[in-house]
């Protein structure tokens, strides 16, 4: 594999961004890499957005987008807290409740996406705002407040919301790693990944080739919303409480991570490794800046620049990939 084939991979942009950011922090921020890599804050953050970024990446490769994830993180957290905290029902109901609200909203988004020609940005903008309303009004109605405490049993804590390795690393990191492996397998090794790329490349042709486009699209929407409510649930279990606020920033952070990871907004191109590295890079910029001498307000500027570079790079990689040399081998 020569250097050009490597540089044409969709993950290339994110790896270069990661190296660039680390170099920048070391040279201009005087960061101690050992201390940075030992720290939990950015890995915890990466895991939180990374778990949602994986299904969002699948969806974006297929050419759709889901911004209702912003409301689904607090929705998952509130559902968990209301069922297990306010009503003091067994934790298992809270977990099932949180996951099924995610699945339901995803199903709703997915059905609207395949039955109408409305862009999914608009559809999920609708469900985003609607779910924010439901979560806020619903928790006010049921509990009388916008913040609900809960106590989770030990088993739930140790599976979804605990600290591992005796320090401040959260257990969601392990979930993130496992899910990354699963998504990588689906995307790059199974036939389903092939189909998702095909949907993003040319939906009509994919349908003609007998690919169940609608069913896959609905499943992917269920994946994004459930992923988001899962993250919310883990958060509520970890911190023993849930608040209605929060989650709006996550939309952009997750989508930025996916784009920095080399996924084309137009669909048809991207990789799970890229998204994984993109998420890491994003988390290092946002949380790692605390380990540098740079004022943390500059972090957003770095993100913005990084995003533009990533988009530019994937665009040029895409062009290069499309015009692969014809005479690679003679004869």
């Amino acid at each position: 594999m020569d250097i050009m084939t490597i540089i044409r991979r969709p993950a290339a942009a994110s790896v270069i961004s990661l190296i660039g950011v680390l170099l920048f922090y070391v040279i201009f921020g005087g960061v101690d890499l050992g201390q940075l890599f030992g720290a939990a804050s950015w890995i915890n953050y990466a895991a939180r957005i990374g778990i949602v970024a994986l299904p969002v990446a699948l969806l974006m490769v297929s050419g759709e987008i889901d911004i209702s994830i912003g409301a689904m993180i607090p929705a998952g957290a509130m559902t968990t807290a209301i069922i297990a905290g306010h009503y003091e029902l067994p934790m298992i109901f809270a977990i099932l409740g949180a996951l099924s609200i995610g699945a339901l909203v995803g199903l709703f988004n997915g059905i609207l996406a395949v039955r109408t020609t409305v862009p999914t940005l608009i559809i999920t903008l609708g469900t985003l705002v609607a779910m924010q309303g439901i979560v806020l009004a619903g928790s006010k109605l049921l509990t009388g407040g916008a913040s609900v405490p809960l106590t989770a049993p030990t088993w739930a804590k140790s599976i979804f919301g605990d600290f591992i390795w005796g320090g401040s690393h959260q257990v969601v990191i392990i979930w993130w790693l496992i899910l990354t492996a699963i998504f990588w397998f689906i995307m790059h090794r199974s036939k389903y990944g092939n189909w998702i790329f095909a949907i993003g490349g040319d939906k009509v042709s994919a349908r003609n080739a007998g690919i169940p486009v609608d069913r896959l699209t609905i499943l992917m929407f269920i994946g994004t919303a459930t992923g988001a409510s899962f993250v919310g649930m883990c958060h509520a279990i970890l911190f023993n409480s849930a608040q209605v606020s929060g989650g709006m920033n996550d939309i952009f952070n997750i989508i930025v991570s996916v784009v920095v990871g080399g996924v084309l907004l137009t669909g048809g191109f991207g990789s799970i490794v890229g998204v994984f590295v993109g998420t890491l890079t994003f988390a290092i910029v946002i949380k790692g800046i605390d380990f540098t001498s740079i004022d943390r307000n500059w972090a957003n500027l770095i993100i913005g620049v990084m995003l533009l570079i990533a988009v530019g790079m994937s665009e040029s990689f895409r062009k290069k990939a499309m015009s692969a040399p014809l005479k690679k081998k003679k004869g």
Binding site: S190, N194, F197, A198, G201, S205, G268, M322, S323, A324
Partner: protein
């Protein structure tokens, strides 16, 4: 070859609500035969293709496969019966490799249970072999992205794919429309190759020259009805062009433009505005 047509339309009408798009269409194609369907834009070619491909059910009349009347329940059903449609832009995915494109929807896998893995090596090997057999020797690397191929090569890949997956009827929707002279020749060669292998080919085009190169049998479609039906050598190019344009003297016009260009150093006639 048996004499029963592989696919046949018998007095097919298709209307969408009050609008009649196809009117009493009857045509048949035998194995190893190329039927050229000629028609100007809006003549109902697309509707006819979609009826053949199982997308639309005919309002009246019947579709026969191997002499038996069938009801195609959808594109998948048509594919199962060996009716493959290759559209103008070929059903290929530019950002995916040749191997993955070739096996789209029919992926070869290895392993078992939930760990079935896409067999990239096999896919690439078979794809390159099959495409080369059809005469496209420039494709040697199954990992190459299809976006880097020429339009003709993409079209040929799609045809090779349909042939490999057991198509008996190949419906080609304007395969040469967007191609240059050389690329079009490429695709025409593949059409001949498919014919040699005993496929029934329905070749839709409005380029009379291309049709005459490969066709055995011609049908001209005008406003949803078959205006003329003839075999190879029965009509001249000029006659066919006139037919397609609905009886107007198109060939005469073409000839006069060519004549003008010859006497004016290749410049087309100036359009005088009133």
């Amino acid at each position: 070859m048996s004499d029963t047509p592989v696919i046949e339309l018998c007095n097919v009408d298709k209307s969408f609500g009050p609008i009649d798009v196809l009117h009493e269409i009857s045509l048949k194609v035998k194995a190893g035969e190329v039927l050229c369907l000629l028609g100007d834009n809006g003549a109902g070619k697309s509707t006819l293709i979609k009826t053949l491909a199982g997308v639309h059910a005919p309002t009246r009349g019947e579709v026969l496969v191997d002499g038996k009347s069938v009801k195609l329940s959808g594109p998948k059903d048509a594919q199962k019966r060996g009716i493959a449609t290759v559209h103008q832009f070929g059903g290929t995915y530019p950002l995916m490799s040749v191997g993955r494109n070739f096996f789209m929807g029919e992926e070869p896998t290895k392993g078992f249970g939930p760990f079935k893995v896409f067999d990239r090596k096999k896919a690439n090997r078979v794809a390159v072999e099959e495409v080369q057999k059809m005469g496209i020797t420039r494709i040697t690397d199954g990992d190459r992205l299809v976006g880097g191929l020429s339009g003709g090569e993409r079209q040929s890949l799609a045809i090779a794919r349909a042939v490999y997956f057991g198509a008996r009827v190949l419906i080609l929707d304007e395969p040469t429309a967007a191609l240059g002279v050389k690329q079009a020749a490429h695709v025409l060669r593949i059409v001949n190759e498919a014919k040699k292998r005993g496929l029934a080919v329905i070749f839709i085009t409005h380029q009379v020259m291309h049709a005459m190169t490969v066709g055995d049998h011609f049908a001209v479609l005008i406003r949803g009805a078959i205006a003329a039906d003839f075999r190879k050598g029965e009509r001249s190019r000029e006659e066919i062009t006139d037919l397609m344009a609905g009886g107007q003297n198109m060939a005469g016009l073409e000839a006069s433009i060519e004549g003008y260009m010859e006497t004016h150093n290749g410049h087309p006639p100036k359009v005088t505005t009133a």
